[in-house]
Each structure stands twice: as C-alpha cells, then as structure tokens.
C-alpha cells in the first residue's frame, strides 16, 4: 500500500529530515510512526500526501510512484488519502457539515450524494447534532472528529493521522484513537504519526520508530521504545 525505498529528505542548507528510509505498509495495517520531535515523522507524512518531494529515493502509494508527481495530479492523490492533522485544519468560514462536504465537492460529487453521505459520516463520529455549527463553536475533540469525518467521507484506502491527539485532553484523545481503531477494523490502512507513549503502548499494533531521520526499529506488535 505504502512503500518508501531509500528515501532521504534534505532541507537546505544542511538539515537532514529523513535518511535512507525503506519501509512498506501493507493494506489494512494499523501502523504507528513514533519518535521524538524533529526526527522526521511529519516529513514522512508530508511525503505520503506529496506536500513534500523526496530528495532521494522513491515513494510509492498503491501502484502509483508519486516521487515525481505532477502538480495537477496532487489533488487526485489527496482525494484517495484521508488526512487528520494535529491542528485540525478545518475551514473556519464553513460549518462542520460544509467542511466535510467540501472534501466531496472538490471531487465533483453530486448534491444528492453529498446530502445522503454527510449525515451518515457525521453520525459515525458522533456529530450528527452539531453539523450546522462552525468550528469555533465546538470543542477541540469535536473539531478533530469532524476532521476524521472529512478524511473518511470519500472512503479512502489510507487514513493518515499526524499527531491527531496532540491538541486534545486524555479523554478526547482516547476517543479519537478508538475511532481510528474502528476505521481500521473496516479495512482502512491507518498510519498514525505520534509521540504519545501511552497511546502507542495501548494499541498493540505495528510500531515504526524513527530517530534522527532513520528507522531504528520496526516491531509487529510494538511499544514506544524511546
């Protein structure tokens, strides 16, 4: 599903974010990418959604080598990967319903489809009663649920969550992880980028540990080792 072959990422003038990373994530897996701040976790996530290009090596999503992806192809890639960000990244001038609908609208979905799918997805994340609220009118946990709903709405094969619990309290963080686990049970590949030790240890899923831009550990049912 996701393959990194000898990927390095350098930021000028002399910062090496990733160094010769090779890894494969299989369809349906739940993988936690862990490591301390500045070890290249977010760069790895950005390479998956083509927000950054590798300086060396190849990145392959499914059968698509996105290493030299053309800029007009990036939206097509992003519509196939659901992304959850630490800082939510909801559109402030749109309601929760409109935020989720936006992900379908960019792909040209019909109004009929949108009005039938969105309430269902918002119900899955427990926001069916708050769909007309603006992001500023709901809590951080609810905002993150809306982001997950948006990431799920076009049924992506991959869900990439970059520090999704970073801005949440323990209870909300737990709820979000449970939601991700459920999504994974339905067959979606989940890539969780985090440095939250408790969450990683609680999951008992595959853990890839990065240190100074390199993979130092890859365990099938791992723990946070740093």
């Amino acid at each position: 599903m996701i393959r990194f072959r000898g990927v390095s990422k350098l930021y000028p003038p002399d910062v090496t974010a990733l160094k010769d990373v090779t890894l494969s994530i299989m369809p349906g897996e739940f993988v936690s990418i862990v490591g301390q701040s500045g070890t290249g976790k977010t760069t790895l996530a950005k390479l998956i959604i083509a927000e950054q290009r590798p300086s060396k090596g190849r990145v392959i999503i499914g059968d698509w080598d996105i290493t030299d992806i053309r800029s007009h192809e990036i939206p097509i890639l992003r519509r196939q990967i659901g992304v959850v960000f630490q800082d939510f990244k909801l559109l402030p001038r749109k309601t929760l319903f409109e935020n989720v609908a936006f992900a379908l609208e960019v792909a040209g979905a019909s109004r009929k489809k949108i009005s039938s799918v969105i309430p269902q997805v918002l119900k899955i994340v427990g926001l069916e009663n708050k769909m007309d609220r603006f992001p500023r009118e709901v809590s951080g946990g609810e905002q993150q649920r809306a982001v997950i709903a948006r990431a799920l709405v076009h049924r992506p094969k991959i869900l990439l969550a970059d520090e999704p619990t970073g801005n949440l309290d323990a209870i909300n963080a737990h709820d979000i992880i449970e939601l991700l686990r459920k999504i994974n049970e339905f067959g979606t590949t989940v890539v969780l980028v985090t440095h939250n030790r408790e969450i990683v240890n609680m999951l008992h899923k595959r853990v890839i540990t990065l240190d100074q831009g390199m993979v130092i550990s890859d365990q099938k049912s791992g723990r946070y080792i740093l």
């Binding site: 927000e51 007009h72 939206p75 097509i76 992304v83 559109l91 936006f102 992900a103 960019v106």
Partner: protein
C-alpha cells in the same frame, strides 16, 4: 461537471462574502474611496478642459477694412478665410453695424457722440471677426492676410495686440492639459496599487484556508475561482456605490459651474449623464479587472501546498 464546479464556486464566493462581512465591507470602502478619488480627478480634468475651451472660445481676431473697400473685396477675403481648414467661423460686421455698435459703446461719451454727428460719412469700414478652431492656428490664419494684395484693403487688425495674450493662453492651456494628464495618470497608478494591495491583504487573511483546501484535494482552480468571484463582487459593489455617490455630487456642483462658465454653455450634469456608460465601464474595468487579477495572483502565492 463544469457547471457544477462553477455553481459551487459562485456559492462559495457569496458564502465567503457574507460570512466575512466586515472584511468585505472594509475592502469595498477602500475600493470606493479609491474610485471616488479617480472620479473627482477625472471630473476636475473635464472641468479644466472645458475651462480652457471656454477661454479659447472668447479669443477672436478682428480685421478692420478701410471704409472705402467695397463689399465684394471684403467678401473675397472672407471667402478665402472660410476656405481654410483651421478657421471655425468668419463673421462679417458691416460698416453700418460697426457704426451702430461704436455709438452704442460710447453713448455716454458726449465728445465722441458730438464728433460723430459732425461727420457726414461713416468713418468705419467693414470688419471680419475670425475664430480659429484651435488657439495656436491664429498666426497661420493671419499669415494669409499678409498677402500684398490685401495690404491696401486692411486698415488694422487686432491680432498683434492680442498675440501675447493668445500665446500665453495657448501655453497655459497646454500646461493645464499636460498637468491634468499627469495628475490622472498618477491617480490611476495609485489606485491600481491600492486596489492590488487591498485584495492581496484580503487574500492574505485566507492563506490558511487556501492551504487547507489544497490538502483536502482541491485543484488550484477550485480554490482560486471563488476568491476571484468574491473579488469581482467587491469591485462591482464598489463601482455601484461610487456611481451613487458621484451622481448627486455632480448635480450639486453643476449649477455652480454653469454660473462660472458665463457665456459658454457647459453642463457637467449633462456631460456626466451623456458619458455615464463610458464612465461606468471605465470604473468597472479598473475595479473588477484589477481586483480579479490581483486576487488570482495573490491566491496563487498560497497554492503551493
């Protein structure tokens, strides 16, 4: 698909406009102030041009013939002058009319009146009053009168007396027009910069949104289009408000100007109404084209996500 995207872009544009109403209002106010300044400068330009024209219109040259010159000789000179392309009109004042006008002018001067009564013959000759199309054409027209054949016909002409004033007027009129063009150009450049920067700042406040849209999978045009339409809305509303403001101002100023332009017909209100379409179109072009172009450029800056 195209219509659906277009419909969505329109919907997002109106949504963005209303949900950020204060930013929209501030942007429109700045555009209105800019357009209003350009309109005032354009108005001053028109009034200045008409003022110069009205002064030029008051300038003419009189050619006085000897009293003995026959009407047919005067007519031949008049015919020759009228055939010149640079001559706007030639008015003939007969000996009798000239005398009547002279008497009327000096009716309160008993010495002149008595002297005239002593005379049995009309001492005045026929006069031709020449108006040129352009003030700078007078010297050329009067060169014709330097023809040796006319020397024995023409007693006097007042152009030499007026020459300095005419030259001065011509110079002032040129300076005013050049000044007006420079001032208008400066104002247009300033307004272009203000509109461009206002829209850029407006877009800057949405830079995060633009990034989010891109991360969710929106194409560049899907992001750009609503912002361009929103900017078009700002431009159109600003033009409408400016026209609504300028119209009563013109009505208010017009009577004052009419009394200022005594003896010269100039109605600013009628001029404005007559040129309304051109005036509105120029403003629409300035405001909408600039706001759309600047938003397209400004959005482009934040699309590289």
């Amino acid at each position: 698909m195209f219509f659906l995207t277009f419909y969505r872009a329109l919907r997002f544009a109106f949504q963005g406009f209303w949900r950020n109403i204060w930013l929209s209002v501030v942007t429109i106010i700045i555009l209105v102030l800019t357009l209003f300044s350009v309109s005032v400068v354009a108005g001053i330009n028109v009034v200045g041009r008409e003022m110069v024209k009205s002064i030029e219109n008051k300038v003419d040259v009189s050619v006085y013939f000897f009293p003995t010159v026959s009407d047919s000789d005067v007519e031949s000179v008049q015919y020759r002058l009228e055939s010149l392309g640079s001559v706007a009109s030639v008015t003939r004042v007969s000996k009798e009319e000239a005398l009547a006008q002279f008497k009327e002018r000096h009716k309160n001067d008993p010495t002149i009146t008595e002297s005239l009564n002593e005379l049995t013959d009309n001492p005045l000759g026929t006069t031709l009053i020449i108006k040129a199309k352009k003030i700078e054409d007078y010297p050329l027209i009067l060169q014709v009168l330097d023809d040796p054949d006319y020397q024995k016909l023409v007693q006097n002409r007042n152009f030499e007396d007026n020459q300095k004033i005419v030259a001065r007027l011509s110079d002032i009129s040129g300076r005013i027009q050049r000044g007006a063009i420079a001032l208008s150009a400066m104002f247009i450049i300033i307004s272009i910069l203000i509109i461009f920067n206002t829209i850029r700042i407006t877009i800057y406040t949405h830079r995060e949104e633009i990034g989010i849209m891109k991360l969710v999978g929106a194409s560049n045009w899907f992001v750009r289009f609503p912002f361009i339409i929103e900017s078009l809305l700002y431009g159109l509303i600003a033009v409408a408000i400016t026209l609504i403001l300028v119209f009563p101002l013109v009505q208010l100023v017009s009577p004052q100007l009419q009394s200022f332009f005594q003896g010269y017909s100039f109605d600013l209100a009628a001029y404005f109404t007559g040129h309304f379409l051109m005036f509105a179109l120029m403003q629409v072009a300035l405001a909408t084209f600039l706001s759309m172009a600047s938003s397209a450029v400004a959005v482009g800056k934040y699309l590289r996500v």
